[in-house]
Subunit: 159 residues, 2 copies
Amino acid sequence: MAATSLAMADNVEPMPTPPQSDIEEGLVFTPKFDKDGLVTCVATDAATGDVLMVAHMNAQALAKTIETGEAWYFSRSRRALWKKGESSGHVQRVVEMRVDCDQDAVWIKVVQHGAGACHTGRRSCFYRAVKSGKPGEATLEFRDADKAFDPKAVYTQSD
Amino acid sequence: MAATSLAMADNVEPMPTPPQSDIEEGLVFTPKFDKDGLVTCVATDAATGDVLMVAHMNAQALAKTIETGEAWYFSRSRRALWKKGESSGHVQRVVEMRVDCDQDAVWIKVVQHGAGACHTGRRSCFYRAVKSGKPGEATLEFRDADKAFDPKAVYTQSD
């Protein structure tokens, strides 16, 4: 069975880029990390299909997510690996992980433990709709924005 | 009603960054473009909730999407604005657009016209699942990977 070592993505020596046809039609997982060493990850609620959050994974976060079945990310602001729910208990169990055609984004369907995924206390980070206004302008409107938990009572650090 | 000019994001003079509390809890749309001038966009099928694609929007693509109600993106590889479905006819009508807590990602729920969103001919770009293998290794498996259309017959360029 075709396989790739995720750990190798951290090596100084980069792996040769496979041909586009292999990336798109092959069964070898060759995540295409950007210049910061990251892929984009979309987490959706396995039950409702709602997008809970968009975050990033480096090779280590991706490997730990695959190995443990729980979501790990890489924080761009804190420059650190973090396990979702490490401080809050709001872990995400991964039901399925998919990769897109050019292998620079992954989609995980998760069971969100605890009340929510967003550090603001909402179920999802996407709690505001964008409405069109005058040309060149847009406004926001709260949608599904009720607080599911009190973030001050839950977080010791942002996760 | 609070509003912001999307066009301003292209100005040489950057807008001052609002306080984090305004970004997260306010109703002013202040998209946080990255150093390449982009926000991440997740497009899901409004009917099924499936993630169709992950792409990027610059200020112009975002403004055109809001104004026209159809999805426009910015191609990082071609360094060009593009309307989804411009050559294939597979346009995406936006049912709802949402922005996330820190305003660096948008989620659009779309009605996907035509057979599919992916340039490989599938309905979704996420047609392969990542399976765990030996520690540090992972393999792919096709899921919902049937070709919905023949890309060679549809595309004059990648969209």
